[in-house]
């Protein structure tokens, strides 16, 4: 899905859409993954420095991830509609930094934006490239909710395996040879 590594433009901002967080959703996520009193108990939460119930930062991040996946699928559909073959995105190796800034309260609407800030071919996985992504989430007042710097994999369209690797791959397919090598 999404674009091929070669077609991804650096520093282009992609709007990922918005989500309004309800009290029920905040409490449900909190009970499952982050059961601290200010994420699950509106009464007790009034005693916290938040002054009321707030969403787990991880909840806002998980929703941001969902928004990104939805955007990748939408891009895939757009490319297919144009008669083009979409690229392939892979799993993520990690997150460099995630800063929770403003709390998200019931009824708040969070808007997510993705920017690819850099890319390079992977050193460890041939045929794949690394994307360095920033996601920023803001609320309905324009306040920054979180800032994240993430890494993702994207497949190369024009990759051709080096000759020695293709040779090695062919050799491993010859029955009995692997056994022989192990001895």
């Amino acid at each position: 899905m999404t674009r091929w590594f070669e077609d991804i433009t650096v520093d282009e901002a992609f709007p990922l859409g918005s989500k309004t967080f309800t009290q029920e959703e905040i409490i449900r996520f909190g009970r499952l993954y982050d059961p601290q009193y200010f994420h699950v108990d509106p009464e007790a939460a009034r005693h916290s420095h938040f002054g009321g119930l707030v969403a787990s930062g991880w909840h806002t991040v998980a929703v941001g991830h969902r928004k990104m996946v939805d955007a990748l699928f939408a891009e895939e559909e757009r490319l297919r509609a144009l008669g083009q073959e979409p690229g392939v995105s892979g799993p993520s190796p990690g997150v460099n930094t995630m800063q929770f800034k403003a709390p998200v309260r019931p009824g708040d609407t969070v808007t997510y934006t993705l920017t690819v800030t850099g890319k390079r071919p992977s050193n460890s996985i041939p045929g794949w490239g690394l994307l360095f992504n920033t996601i920023e989430a803001t609320n309905q007042r324009g306040e920054l909710v979180y800032h994240a710097e993430l890494v993702g994999f994207s497949k190369l369209r024009d990759y051709r395996m080096p000759l020695w690797q293709r040779l090695a791959l062919t050799l491993t397919r010859i029955p009995g040879l692997r056994k022989l090598v192990r001895r």
């Binding site: 993954y33 059961p35 601290q36 787990s56 991880w58 799993p91 997150v95 994999f153």
Partner: protein, 176 residues
Amino acid sequence: MNPVTADRRHYEDLAVGEVIALGSVTVTKEMIVGFAREFDPFPFHLDEKAARASLLGGLAASGWQTAALSLRMLGEAFLNTIASMGGLGFSDLKWKKPVMAGDTIGGTARIAALRRSRGHPERGIVTIDFDIRNQRGEPVMSLRLANLVEVRDPGRGEPPAHERSPGAAPSGGAAT
């Protein structure tokens, strides 16, 4: 005084080097697909056939699910026993190995650093390093979390520098 957290451990009661034993959780296929449908609907988290053809090599949990389950274990073992004021963020999250359907994850969390907030004398910042492993002891995820904790006696200053750890917490966080 916050009645919810009055009896819990505060900033002054924590020490760098404390190791928190996390419980464990077995990640079932149903959990993986359920989480993926809501937050991470890539085919390699939803469908076994697509997963086998992917880089993951089989049905694997969303990395965010591994993180969320680790957070829950930390909540039960630690965050709900201290006067936590919520997270500031995290850094250096590394998904080292996929968590496959049927795997059991657990591990430890360690207090890597403690410091007082500069702007808010009633807040301390505890930095926690996660080391999450599967049932074979293989590391599956690590991350460094920064969490706020209430200071019991804000009038008293920061302890002398030699009692603090130089470990770096993620920067930023409007609350500090």
